[in-house]
Subunit: 214 residues, 2 copies
């Protein structure tokens, strides 16, 4: 089985549930349903890890202290990049090294995703121009100001238009389950949600309509 | 304002969302609605921290590496104890030091809560005898075997019978929002859920019926 490397960017001021929700979904997905398959990684389609600029401890919102698995300089290749949000995204909008890492990693990844205000960072490096996208409800106007040609959607839990962006915080769970379903089928996503006792809203409210003409 | 000390037990093999969901809820609750109040802790009714047996890094399910804020020996007094679950609870069922810490901390706390299979640890020290309680759907029978006089409920997202226990993984978010509502009113809980873009099911499915006669 080929496993997908899921790299989750973390940074000081990252919102806890923004990264922990998708971390839970991707790391607990199994191709065999039920609970027993979760006792090992044998049947895990994703290899999930955190990445930060340095190896130092990262302090998330509320003070949760996380040790990144990798730094920018030693992270393995990333197939699926996830950029979470939080107030800590604001200083990163001016952090050349982080933006350049996201740009280079996104260029090599087969899927690029964001949760909440993580979309601001993708917007900043131009990935959302002429795309539909969403973010936390409080940052919709800010997202539009950073990506003027993007169509910023306020209703869906997440939007899939090359980049998959989700609404605020907990919407990252729905977005991650949607990506699991895309890659491994609805049964695997539904079983992962069931394991997590998570109640999805239908298909998660994904907006899949055709993008507007440029 | 008096803040409530929320101590979240963490241990190797703790399920990520079991502790991260309630951590998010309690640490992001604010008495003033909106987003701006979340930029500081000035208006935060809860002081949330992780506690582990030692100060060493804890490895959660999927490999998330967390540095506990406190160890058993130096944790401040805990008003609200939260015991999360995960496969890592099983070895703790025989870990005298951890069970004794939970027992002593629960005895001094004004509220004791569990998420998922964290209920097994509360059962082990006798806190669920003659109480209604719940746990992850896969561990209902195991919970009953550890707490023979407990009424183990399979339907609710969480059960409040002195101890507040929640169903699996993501149900801890609903349980935490319920506790926020209990302590600070429904408006504060609803605003916290809105900040998190979290969709609660009505009152979260809490079971509040009278306990059976002993």
């Amino acid at each position: 089985m080929t496993t997908t490397n899921v790299g989750i960017l973390i940074f000081d001021g990252v919102e806890v549930l923004d990264f922990a929700g998708p971390f839970e979904v991707f790391s607990r997905a199994r191709l065999t349903p039920g609970v027993e398959s979760r006792r090992s990684d044998d049947d895990a389609p994703f290899n999930v890890f955190t990445v930060a600029k340095y190896h130092d401890e990262v302090v998330a919102t509320g003070g949760l202290r996380v040790i990144p698995e990798y730094s920018f300089s030693d992270a393995p290749s990333i197939d699926l990049l996830l950029v979470p949000g939080g107030f800590g995204t604001r200083p990163l909008l001016d952090d050349t090294e982080t933006l350049e890492w996201i740009r280079a990693t996104a260029a090599r990844a087969s899927r690029v995703t964001s949760v909440c205000t993580g979309a601001l960072l993708l917007a900043k490096i131009g990935l959302l121009e002429q795309r539909r996208a969403t973010t936390h409800w409080s940052a919709l106007a800010l997202l539009k100001s950073i990506a003027p040609t993007a169509t910023v959607e306020s209703e869906p839990r997440f939007v899939d238009d090359v980049v998959v962006s989700s609404a605020g915080v907990s919407a990252g769970i729905d977005m991650a389950l949607y990506v699991v379903a895309q890659m491994h089928g609805e049964d695997v996503a539904a079983d992962t949600a069931r394991y997590m006792d998570y109640r999805r809203d239908g298909d998660g409210g994904c907006s899949r309509k055709a993008p507007p003409s440029p």
